[in-house]
Structure formats: C-alpha cells, structure tokens
C-alpha cells in the first residue's frame, strides 16, 4: 500500500526515538563552549587592535616607569584610557574632560593615502572588498556599532550566481572613523581562516594560523599599501574538518603593508578571508596627544611612547605634530616640530619647560604675543595632553625657564600655571 502522506504522529515518535539515542555530554560541552568562546573573543579583540599575537603579549605587560627627575613610581596601564598612579602622593578623582578618543589608526588596511576617502563606513568597506580583496560584487551587511567610532560590517557569502549563501559570512570588517570623520578598514576577520601571527620583512613573510581543512587550499598574500601583491603562497591544509593549523613562508618584493589570507575551498567556506595590517610592533605606552580637528576643536590622537618618560614622550609627540593622514593641525608654531619640551614632576605637579625659540620674536619684545584664538588652542592642547595623567593636579609652563614669559607669550591670559578643572 502506498501512503500519500506520512503519518505525522508516526514521524514524531520516530524522530523522538531516533534522536533520543543521542546523549551528549552536557557538562563537558559547556566547559568547552566557554573556553572556545573566550578564545574566539580574545582573537577578535586581538584582530580588532590590528596587532599580532606577539604584540598583544607585550602590550599586556604592566609597565613601571619613572617620571622625570623626581624618580616617582608610576604604574601605567597601557591603552587609550591610560591611568596613572603616583604614590605616595594622594590621588584625585577628578577627570580631564575629553571627547571620545579616536581609535589607534596607525595600522589600517584601507583606503591608502591618495585614494578616495570615505565618509560612509559601508562605502569604505565596499571599496576594500572590491579593490583589496578582489570580490567582483560584494554583498555587505548593515554596519553594527561595536565601539564609539567603530563599526563591524559583514561581507556576506555568495553562491556562484552572486546570491546570498545560507546566511553565512565570509569575513567581518572592522571599520573605524578617523578624527576628520572619514572611515578606514582596520582589519578583516573570518572564523574559518585565521591569521594568528606573522613576521614580515622586505624579502620574506612567515605567516601562521588556522584554516578550514575541508580538502581546501588557502592563498596567503602580502600586499603593499595600494593593495598590490608583493608575494603569495598557496597553503594546503590536509585532512580533517574544522580549522587546522598551518605555517607558510614566502618571498616578497618589498616590505608589505598588510597580509591577506583567503580560503579557496569553494565549499561552504567560499572565499572566507582575513586581513591584518603589517603594523610595526607597538612598543611602549599608548598616550593621547591633542591636535586641532577640521571643526576647530581640540581632539585626541593616539601615540605610543617609550616608558619611563611617558609625559615627556607625550609632549614630544604633541610638539612633533599630527601626521598628514590624520588631517588635523596644531596651534603650536611650526618650529615646535623641531623642538622637545622638558617636563619634570614634583608633588603631583608638572613643570613643562618649552624652548624659548618657539616664541618669535622673543617674548620680552613688544608684540611677541600669540593671537587670542591661537593662544587658547595652544593652552588647551598642552593642558589636555598633560592632564590625561590622572595624578597630575597642576602644571606650570615655562618658556625658556620663565613662567612669566610663557604668560606673556600667551598674551591675554597671562597665566602659566593651570590646575585640573
């Protein structure tokens, strides 16, 4: 007898009985899931920082530097939200008013200088997917806010006809906003092809990671800033389901700006890809230095300075000025870029001595006064950079060793000592 339709109750009973034969180990599985989840989150964060595993290890270390001539112990947790504890001086709970700090954009993937810049994160992502990864017609998910000034955008998997493929994702891009409002792709991460570490020189690249082992191959590439291939290697992952470890070394024709790993299995992993900038190893402590944005307001940028002299390092970076690709300016006179101020700390107060040559003509001469607007910006850049260190309660600026000269130089205010507000 032929059944037109299968009996639903019979099917229900069969399915429950058949599935009931499966008895998973729930205790072990929860532990495994937690471990894998934490590892995956750590990987994602590592990639978000645009730095390799080795850099992370270095950055995780607590630095114990000495500040200035007074040899006071300073414990600094690295990172944009740097906190400073100076003992035995009582600490203050007041905070320096800041705008949302920009992310560290020193290492990024796309777009390169000279290329169109993007005021829309999706357009930056699309440009990256087409011009850098060479996807002909990428499908992108909606941007998801991840952090202030940072969004994640999925590059969706497509079948051979360009249609969405099972809701899968080829890669997730991290797209960050710079101080001038434009967006840059910082990294691309896939769960199926993972760059875990690499070393890159002008002649060779060694890349290690994991890739999906579905009988597939991966293509590891080193690219210059414009997305041109400097060298590549086909990586074969033998056997087994799930990501398998690999390491490959290949020759390159120049120092790469970034590394790209693309799956070429043609199966469900499609063209999953990951990419990281070839960031120089970040040494030292992240500090904020304040420049003037296109809207005329003072905004922070990230610099890494070498401990122990982190305040001096921050001031030196401030005097060095913004980089061209930051699209910011400084109110400090042009000559500041060739000078280095000297900071000392005593009793929770900093004294910053600025070379007299910054003021031209000599501030003892009539007319050697900064315009009002410029003076206000100079003072704001200086005080914000100093007061990012929570334990500094006041700062005195000197010009050529003279507090009065600094006051004269900044004209209308006549002040040289500033307290944390």
């Amino acid at each position: 007898m032929t059944e037109d339709r299968f009996d639903e109750d019979r099917l229900r009973s069969a399915l429950h009985a058949g599935a009931g034969e499966v008895d998973p180990d729930e205790v072990t599985s929860l532990s495994t899931i937690r471990q894998r989840g934490r590892a995956a989150i750590r990987r994602r964060r590592a990639i978000a920082g645009g730095v390799g595993a080795l850099v992370l290890v270095a950055a995780a270390a607590v630095i114990i530097p000495q500040l200035g001539a007074d040899e006071q112990s300073v414990i600094i947790e690295p990172g944009p939200q740097t906190t400073t504890t100076i003992g035995p001086i009582p600490t203050t709970t007041s905070t320096v008013p800041t705008t949302t700090p920009p992310l560290d954009m020193t290492p990024y993937l796309w777009p390169p200088p000279g290329h169109d810049q993007y005021t829309d994160p999706t357009e930056a992502a699309r440009s990256f997917a087409t011009e850098y990864v060479d996807l002909p017609d990428p499908m992108l998910g909606a941007p998801r806010a991840a952090e202030p000034r940072l969004v994640e955008i999925d590059v969706l998997a497509q079948d051979e006809n360009g249609r969405p493929f099972d809701g899968r994702i080829w890669s997730t891009l991290q797209v960050a906003q710079t101080a001038d409002g434009t967006w840059r792709v910082r990294s691309a991460a896939s769960e199926e092809v993972v760059i875990e570490s690499f070393t890159a020189s002008a002649t060779s690249v060694t890349m290690a990671g994991r890739g999906n082992g579905f009988e597939g191959t991966m293509n590891a590439s080193a690219l210059d800033a414009d997305g041109n291939r400097l060298g590549e290697s086909v990586v074969t992952v033998l056997c087994c389901e799930g990501p398998q470890p690999f390491e490959t070394t290949f020759a390159v024709s120049g120092l790469p700006s970034s590394l790209l790993l693309v799956s070429s299995t043609g199966l469900e992993s499609g063209s999953a890809f990951s990419a990281l900038p070839n960031a120089p190893a970040v040494v030292g402590t992240a500090v904020q230095v304040y420049f003037v944005g296109s809207d005329g307001t003072v905004q922070p940028q990230i610099r890494h300075v070498e401990p122990p002299a982190v305040l001096n390092g921050a001031l030196a970076a401030l005097f060095a000025g913004p980089s061209a690709d930051e699209h910011m300016t400084t109110a400090l006179p042009e000559a500041a870029a060739t000078m280095t101020p000297a900071a000392t700390i005593a009793g929770g107060e900093a004294t910053v001595d600025i070379p007299i040559a910054l003021a031209q003509p000599d501030p003892s001469q009539p007319g050697a006064v900064l315009p009002v607007d410029q003076a206000d910006l100079v003072i704001e850049q200086l005080t914000r950079t100093v007061f990012q260190f929570d334990n500094l309660t006041a700062v005195t600026f000197e010009l050529g060793g003279s507090c009065e000269d600094f006051g004269r130089w900044t004209g209308h205010r006549g002040e040289c000592r500033f307290e944390r507000s």
Binding site: D4, F6, L15, P24, E26, S29, I33, R36, D166, G242
Partner: protein, 178 residues
C-alpha cells in the same frame, strides 16, 4: 526553550546566561543536529559552534529572547553546510556509504528497526523538507518559529512540510517494494 535573559553586561552575567541557555537547549539542539546531519559525532560540534558564535555576537542580539531562535538557525545552517560538505567529500572519494535500510515489517511501526528506517529516509529528503519536518515534528516549533529557523517565509514551511511528508511516504514505500 524560553529563557528569561539579560544579554550583555559583565562576563559573569554572560556566563550565567550562557549556562542557562545551554542547560535548556543543548541536548535538544544536539538531537536536532543529529536528525538534520545524520552524524552523531558531528552533531555535538555543530551545536558547540552555534554557542560559540552566539557568544561572539552577544552584543548584536537586539532581543534577549531571540537567543534560542538564533541557536536553532545556526544549527540548521551548520548542519546544512555539513551535509553539503559531506556530499562533496563523498563524491570526491567515490565511496558514499549509506547503510542498508532495515527490512522490518511495517506493522512494527514504532519498533527499533522502523524508527531507523524513518530516520534514514529523512536523510534522503531535500534539505528544506528535512529541516521543516525536524523542526516541526521533533522540536514541535510553530510554523512561524520554523520559518525563522530556516530563514524562509512562513508560507513556505507548510509547503516544505507537505512535500516532506509525501516524499517520506514515497521513499518508504519504494523501499518496501524492493
């Protein structure tokens, strides 16, 4: 399957919610993955993968109550991918292995052998039909929840279920007549 959760917050809160989700869903999801993939050893991995993905997307879930639905959808997707992969591998290796169906009499409908035949026949169904039947008749999901797990329109579920039941009947009938 319903769980009252607070998504987001500290690692401890996330751990706690994850534990509750796991307790309430893991076993049934592994069994669903088994029915969909036919691979007992892979079923547990499929569900673990879904939970790991959930942790990665924790902040992206707009509605905390959506977590079980997200897990179901992830399991369906992953099982489907696994099947496709296995089919390609089978073709590549030219050694597809389908266990011979049991020849037990039909009147032993709910006997061990018959259950195996039905579960085995399920695996021969097209993906969508198999998914619709497993979600509707194993997890007892509504048509709307089944549609969400399969990422299809609600109206399509009815079609897939109808066709699935008919195909299942035909497959078992063909087997009996061999």
């Amino acid at each position: 399957m319903a769980a009252t959760m607070a998504i987001g917050g500290s690692a401890e809160v996330v751990d706690d919610v994850l534990g509750r989700l796991h307790r309430e869903n893991f076993r049934s999801l592994v069994r669903l993955a088994y029915l969909l993939s036919g691979d007992q050893s892979r079923a547990e991995e499929i569900v673990q993968d879904a939970f790991v993905r959930l942790q990665l997307r924790w902040g992206g879930l707009r509605n905390p109550e959506a977590a079980p639905a997200y897990l179901r959808r992830a399991v369906v997707n992953e099982a489907r991918s696994h099947l496709r992969h296995r089919q390609v591998v089978d073709r590549h290796d030219a050694r597809r292995t389908v266990e011979p169906a049991s020849r037990s009499p039909e009147d032993e409908a709910l006997a061990e052998a018959d259950r195996r035949r039905i579960v085995e026949a399920m695996r021969q169904l097209p993906d969508r039909q198999r998914e619709a039947l497993a979600l509707r008749f194993y997890l007892d999901l509504s048509e709307a929840d089944t549609a969400a797990a399969m990422k299809v329109a609600a109206g399509s579920v009815k079609t897939h279920v109808h066709r699935g039941l008919a195909t299942l009947a035909r497959l078992l009938d063909e087997e009996r007549s061999r």
